[in-house]
């Protein structure tokens, strides 16, 4: 069963290949994302994160998930030398880490229910589990210069893929080391990792590093990257080829 719907301001697709899926399984995932949105959306005035940002919530009253996210954010900030930072001036925005983490948690919910072959896609951040009718999942990397095209085909199973990039509406990645600058040169960076939670946070941080971001990904075992610059030239990590169809 496969469904696509709009939630958290983004298109979400869940496809379960296993034969015994039902409406209830999709509802379960939807309600989990609803909870995530209510807690972490900076666009919702009464979300927990908005209350924290407007000073209406004390540290001791943070939910356990909020505490978890802050802890993950701190660890990620350390590994990435501060390039991953949820603090933008005096404003906290953990969306760079929440999305991947939420997808990963949703996949764990489905695994607990016994599903072995499915994928969850939220706005291009994807967790693939198992196979698509005995074949690895085929994932296209979108052409950053033409939305209707793919410029690379990946073949994955039990991985997460995240792509950070500039959108046609402008730069949305913030470089904490140079808050005034906008990210030039690198148009798109795709990171493949053991799961979407890891891939997402590294893609966000590496994109903020500009052209050296791909070298950062190269450092880490189990992560591969494909970076596209404004000239349409791609730079990729040493073992990226093993994921190419």
């Amino acid at each position: 069963m496969k469904k696509t719907w709009l939630q958290m301001g983004m298109p979400i697709t869940l496809e379960i290949v296993d034969k015994n899926s039902s409406e209830n399984d999709f509802l379960l995932v939807k309600s989990y994302f609803s909870y995530i949105d209510k807690t972490f959306s900076t666009y919702k005035k009464n979300s927990e994160i908005s209350k924290i940002n407007s000073g209406k919530l004390n540290k001791e009253n943070y939910s356990s998930d909020m505490k978890k996210i802050f802890k993950i954010a701190e660890e990620t900030k350390k590994i990435t030398d501060g390039y991953f930072d949820i603090r933008k001036n005096s404003f906290l925005d953990p969306s760079g880490i929440v999305k991947g983490w939420a997808i990963y948690n949703a996949s764990k919910i489905l695994k607990k229910r016994g599903f072995k072959n499915f994928y969850i896609d939220i706005g291009g951040d994807i967790e693939v589990v198992g196979k698509n009718n005995s074949k690895k999942w085929k994932i296209g990397i979108r052409n950053p210069f033409n939305r209707g095209e793919n410029i690379k085909i990946l073949s994955l199973s039990n991985n997460g893929v995240a792509t950070s990039g500039t959108s046609i509406r402008g730069q949305h990645i913030y470089n904490p080391h140079q808050p005034e600058s906008t990210i030039k040169d690198v148009i798109s960076l795709t990171v493949i990792g053991p799961n979407i939670y890891e891939a997402d946070r590294f893609a966000t941080a590496a994109f903020a590093m500009g052209k050296s971001g791909i070298n950062f990904i190269e450092k880490f075992e189990g992560f591969e990257g494909y970076m596209i610059d404004s000239n349409g030239i791609a730079t990729f990590t040493s073992n990226f080829g093993k994921f190419v169809d």
């Binding site: 958290m8 301001g9 983004m10 697709t13 496809e15 959306s41 666009y43 030398d81 999305k99 994928y119 896609d121 706005g123 291009g124 951040d125 994807i126 693939v128 698509n132 999942w137 085929k138 994932i139 296209g140 990397i141 979108r142 052409n143 950053p144 033409n146 939305r147 095209e149 793919n150 410029i151 690379k152 085909i153 990946l154 893929v161 995240a162 792509t163 950070s164 990039g165 500039t166 959108s167 509406r169 949305h172 798109s188 795709t190 050296s212 791909i214 070298n215 950062f216 190269e218 450092k219 596209i228 349409g232 030239i233 791609a234 730079t235 990729f236 990590t237 040493s238 169809d245």
Partner: protein, 143 residues
């Protein structure tokens, strides 16, 4: 890490020097009876490198994060001193970048693929921001 880079540039500079002056880069233990004028016959057997005394300026090398150039002073057939003529100017930045210095990664021009895919990974469209902005604008427009 810096020492490894320094050694690499010294070696590169010497190799470049040797090539330019049409002499073999002698980095293996060599037989002192072979090779002619470049060899100092008083050097002990099995010495790794033997050179002509003097002061030699290496070529500028692009170290990815800046330019490096060294000058080597040879005394008694051996390196007696190495002088940096050019270093990357911002050493703080150098330290930060050398953490990520790696072998040069492969590159390719992107090519459109026509194969069918199950899913597409691309940068998120932040449509929520668009909706937010539009609705606040429309609120102001309300009579």
């Amino acid at each position: 890490m810096k020492k490894i880079l320094l050694s690499t540039f010294i070696i590169i500079s010497f190799v470049l020097y040797s090539i330019i002056h049409n002499k073999p880069a002698n980095i293996l233990p060599s037989n002192p009876s072979v090779g002619g004028s470049m060899m100092n016959n008083n050097m002990p057997q099995g010495s790794m490198m033997t050179y002509k005394d003097g002061v030699y300026t290496g070529d500028s090398a692009d170290a990815y994060y800046g330019i490096v150039q060294v000058k080597a002073i040879i005394t008694g057939g051996k390196i007696s001193d190495i002088v940096f003529l050019q270093v990357p100017s911002d050493l703080g930045h150098t330290n930060e970048v050398t953490q990520y210095a790696t072998p040069i990664l492969k590159q390719e021009a992107i090519q459109v693929q026509s194969t069918h895919v199950d899913i597409v990974s691309g940068a998120t469209d932040t449509s929520q921001a668009f909706i937010q902005s539009l609705s606040s604008a429309l609120k102001q427009a309300q009579i």
